[in-house]
């Protein structure tokens, strides 16, 4: 399977629109609950960010409660992507995600990242940092990618980690 991040972004945009989200931060928790998926927080090993699974028709998203809340939001959006895009796969086995360890790899090794994860990251990034809202925010303030304080302020507004925001602005999701 070849990754189709554009399809993933489209799916995320449709959700933001259908849910009537007017601005940042996007209420990812409410979106997940509205889809009748059980959202569960639990202390997990540091390198686990979350999991997605469908068991006997019950959709489940698990999030590592020990991570920073903003990182939890990204994990939740990432797992929602697996439910929206990869239903067949997550019925067969519990899909376990290791999160940012993978995102923070350099370009060469990240090419080895599975297509499912590329799509899920594209979806999560578009869901939490919708292009439209981002453009509005950037038009208002303007932003230099080297401006750490500016990126942090933007990340706070969207309630994502600054590394997620940096990746988004660099167009790497």
């Amino acid at each position: 399977m070849k990754a189709d991040p554009e399809k993933a972004r489209k799916a995320a945009r449709a959700i933001v629109r259908d849910f009537g989200v007017k601005g940042a931060p996007v209420p990812v928790e409410r979106i997940i609950k509205s889809k009748n998926i059980v959202l569960q927080y639990a202390p997990l090993d540091e390198d686990l960010s979350g999991m997605a699974y469908i068991k006997d028709g019950v959709g489940i998203i698990g999030i590592n409660a020990l991570h920073h809340p903003n990182r939890q939001r990204f994990s939740a959006a990432h797992e929602l992507a697996h439910h929206e895009l990869h239903e067949r796969e997550i019925r067969k086995a519990v899909h376990v995600d290791h999160g940012f360890r993978m995102l923070l790899r350099d370009d060469v090794s990240s090419q080895g990242v599975e297509p499912l994860e590329i799509e899920a990251n594209a979806f999560a990034s578009e869901l939490l940092m919708p292009n439209e809202f981002l453009m509005t925010a950037l038009r208002a303030t303007g932003l230099d990618i080297e401006d750490d304080a500016g990126i942090e302020a933007l990340a706070r507004k969207f309630r994502v980690s600054s590394s997620a925001m940096r990746y988004r602005l660099a167009g790497r999701f």
Binding site: V38, P43, D45, L66
Partner: protein, 138 residues
Amino acid sequence: MFVIHTFVLVIDNMACLRQTITMAEEAIYKAFGRAVATRRRKLELTQAELAARVGMSRASVANIESGRQSVLLHHVYGLAEALKIAKISDLLPAKPSNRENTDMIILSDEEVTPRAKAQITDLIANALAQRGAKKAGS
């Protein structure tokens, strides 16, 4: 000397208490201890620093983290606050009895540690129990 003597008695008492708990119950304290230790390292705190915030000795924090000490309820609140955990339940491991009917789960990544697999199994059991309870209630 008197103080040291009392301290030894307390330890003895604790050891006695711990003999009455089952393996499954012991697993709860181990899991709780690991959650505390993971979160503490994440915040880059030493055991001594955490102990000072909660108002207990460093040895108690070490014992709780290794699961050797049954933690007191007010210490759970104190630890959650010191570790900046908003909901106490986020620090609590699952009930061990929930694990039974999900022992057969298949993971996408078989390289996860047995401990992580147990955590995930618990999480799924809890999610299913939660949904089951909702259905029964409606």
